[in-house]
């Protein structure tokens, strides 16, 4: 598989209006298919909007073929031969609600990631409304082995590190990142922070990293868009506009993995057994420290 044409959707959403958001997804999927996109990634909670609060239980769905929302997305993934990452609220069998991203391909749900880090500080209150995911796993697709993370997940270096060790050569990150930190610079601090860490991950893990983010407003919060992708050298492949809806398309030359890792064998030399030993020692030794699980 030498190349992957990747679409990054930066969209506005209607807060709590799943049907309206689904229709927007279907329209954009149509545009993306016409543009030759093979894999289209939507932002965090793209089917629901972000600051859901007490709307959470009313907008949840299940990533299964009999779900009225997912049945349509699965059908279109098959009909348009287009893989999808969509953001939604997942309610499990025991009625716990997760911020989730699902990878859909050719009518099947290939993988679901539950957000493992829920920011509950500053302007964020996710831990109040959502359950914490408890797995970070790469998964196989027809484009190779991929990994997904959601927003705060990738502010903890361990999450992309685990995906890297688990075989992900393309990392797909989805966010609903509120814009903040206006100063004299031409972009918001929140955008610059994200771009720094994405570039760093692409460089350190010699892997592709792509990120998309919601746009528009929810009350006074702005969401800044700015979808980007970096190649395994840490070079930026594409930059979406800030604060505007867009379908951002770029082609990943997957052979770049071979060339970069031939030059820079960081993956070959990574000593994860050493990491595991040291983490076991640190965890065992920190009797006073609370284990966050």
């Amino acid at each position: 598989m030498p190349a992957l044409t990747l679409g990054l959707a930066q969209i506005k959403t209607k807060l709590g209006a799943v049907q309206a958001n689904l229709e927007k997804h279907l329209a954009l999927i149509d545009d993306a298919a016409k543009a030759g996109v093979q894999l289209l990634v939507f932002p965090e909670l793209s089917l629901t909007g972000y600051v859901l609060q007490d709307l959470v239980p009313t907008v949840a769905c299940a990533p299964t073929p009999d779900d009225p929302v997912f049945s349509q997305l699965l059908a279109v993934s098959r009909a348009r031969n287009l893989d999808l990452v969509v953001g939604f609220v997942d309610e499990d069998q025991r009625n716990r609600f997760y911020i989730a991203s699902a990878y859909l391909s050719q009518g099947r749900v290939v993988h679901v990631h539950h957000k493992v880090y829920l920011p509950t500080y500053g302007l964020f209150d996710e831990g109040r409304f959502f359950a914490w995911g408890d797995a970070v796993r790469a998964f196989d697709t027809r484009f190779g082995r991929l990994g997904m993370l959601i927003c705060e997940d990738f502010w903890h270096a361990s999450a992309p590190y685990l995906l890297w060790l688990d075989g992900a050569d393309v990392m797909l990150f989805a966010s609903a990142s509120p814009g903040r930190g206006l100063n004299s610079a031409p972009t918001l601090e929140s955008a610059r922070w994200v771009e720094h860490v994405l570039k760093a991950y692409a460089s350190l893990f010699t892997t592709f990293v792509a990120h998309t983010n919601k746009v528009g407003f929810e009350d006074g919060l702005n969401f800044w868009g700015g979808a980007v992708a970096f190649d395994p050298n840490g070079d930026q492949l594409v930059q979406g506009p800030y604060h505007e809806e867009a379908l951002v398309v770029t082609t990943l030359d997957l052979n770049q993995l071979h060339r970069t890792r031939a030059r820079l064998p960081l993956l070959r030399d990574e000593r994860h057994a050493l990491v595991a030993r040291e983490i076991a020692r640190i965890t065992a030794g920190s009797a006073g420290a609370r284990d966050k699980g």
């Binding site: 506005k12 209607k14 807060l15 709590g16 209006a17 600051v51 609060q53 007490d54 709307l55 814009g179 206006l182 100063n183 004299s184 610079a185 031409p186 972009t187 918001l188 528009g216 407003f217 929810e218 009350d219 006074g220 702005n222 604060h243």
Partner: protein, 275 residues
């Protein structure tokens, strides 16, 4: 003295704030705005942003002078109205204010000022219904933090593009948006009585207050760290005290909780719910 820059990128501020006004007004089903123009820099900037966001013909500028208002206030408002090409209306509040003011002849300036601010709110909300537009607020972050506003008066509005910009930043953005020079250059005043200026009334300068608030609020400095950074201890105490004392103006009225689900505590939805 610690070097504190409050400079903002005005292009980015302009983009976000015009999008904010357009998106948050149109998602209610409306497409128009009403702005009370005082002749000062804050309302001038709010009006510029609204005109850019919605188109000038969708913004109604309302001037509401009282008999003691400075003549130049109205002139400056007219200057901006002419520049932007927005429809406008002048509704003097004198006839509405006098019966109440005359009933209490020994009324303090504070009470008189509050009455004027609340009468202007009544006019603006009436025009909101008549014109079919949301009332755009014009209070800046400095005023909000120091509590320099009238509750249910100038603090009453549907949405506020300026509430996270300090006065210094308002001035920078107003200049970038082409607010006329006479408005940019004059001393800030609530114009509630002749010769009043904000800075004299509060006993501080916006330049210093903005820098101190930036450290206290945005950078989370402790008061003693602000003193160590070069601010006068008495000034720091005054500002910290104003911040706390005026918090009631920044929150919704208290609801006494009795049931299992109560507005403000565990009935939680954004205003944009469903839109």
């Amino acid at each position: 003295m610690t070097n504190i820059s409050l400079d903002i990128n005005t292009d980015l501020a302009r983009q976000i704030l015009t999008q904010f006004l357009r998106e948050e007004i149109t998602r209610t089903g409306l497409s128009r705005a009403v702005v009370g123009l005082s002749g000062g820099i804050d309302s001038a900037l709010a009006c510029c942003l609204a005109a850019e966001a919605l188109g000038p013909h969708n913004v109604l500028a309302v001037c509401m002078p009282y008999r003691t208002s400075a003549a130049e206030s109205l002139e400056h408002a007219q200057l901006l109205i002419a520049q932007l090409g927005v429809p406008s209306l002048t509704v003097p509040i004198t006839d509405m204010a006098e019966p109440l003011l005359n009933r209490f002849p020994d009324m303090s300036n504070l009470r008189r000022g509050n009455i004027m601010a609340r009468l202007r709110m009544i006019v603006l909300y009436d025009q909101s219904a008549a014109f079919g537009g949301l009332v755009v607020g014009t209070g800046n972050k400095t005023e909000i933090m120091l509590g320099y506003s009238t509750l249910f008066g100038d603090s009453a509005h549907a949405l506020n593009p300026l509430g996270d910009l300090y006065k210094t930043q308002v001035r920078q953005l107003a200049r970038a948006l082409g607010v006329p020079a006479p408005i940019l250059d004059k001393a800030p005043s609530a114009d509630l009585w002749p010769g009043q200026t904000d800075e004299a009334e509060m006993g501080l300068t916006y330049a210093r207050a903005d820098q101190l608030l930036y450290l206290l609020v945005d950078q989370r400095y402790k008061p003693e760290e602000c003193v160590a950074a070069g601010f006068d201890a008495g000034f720091v105490r005054t500002v910290v005290d104003r911040l706390r004392r005026n918090h009631f103006k920044r929150v919704m009225p208290l609801v006494a909780k009795l049931s299992n689900r109560t507005v403000g505590y565990d009935f939680l939805y954004l205003r944009d719910w469903g839109t």
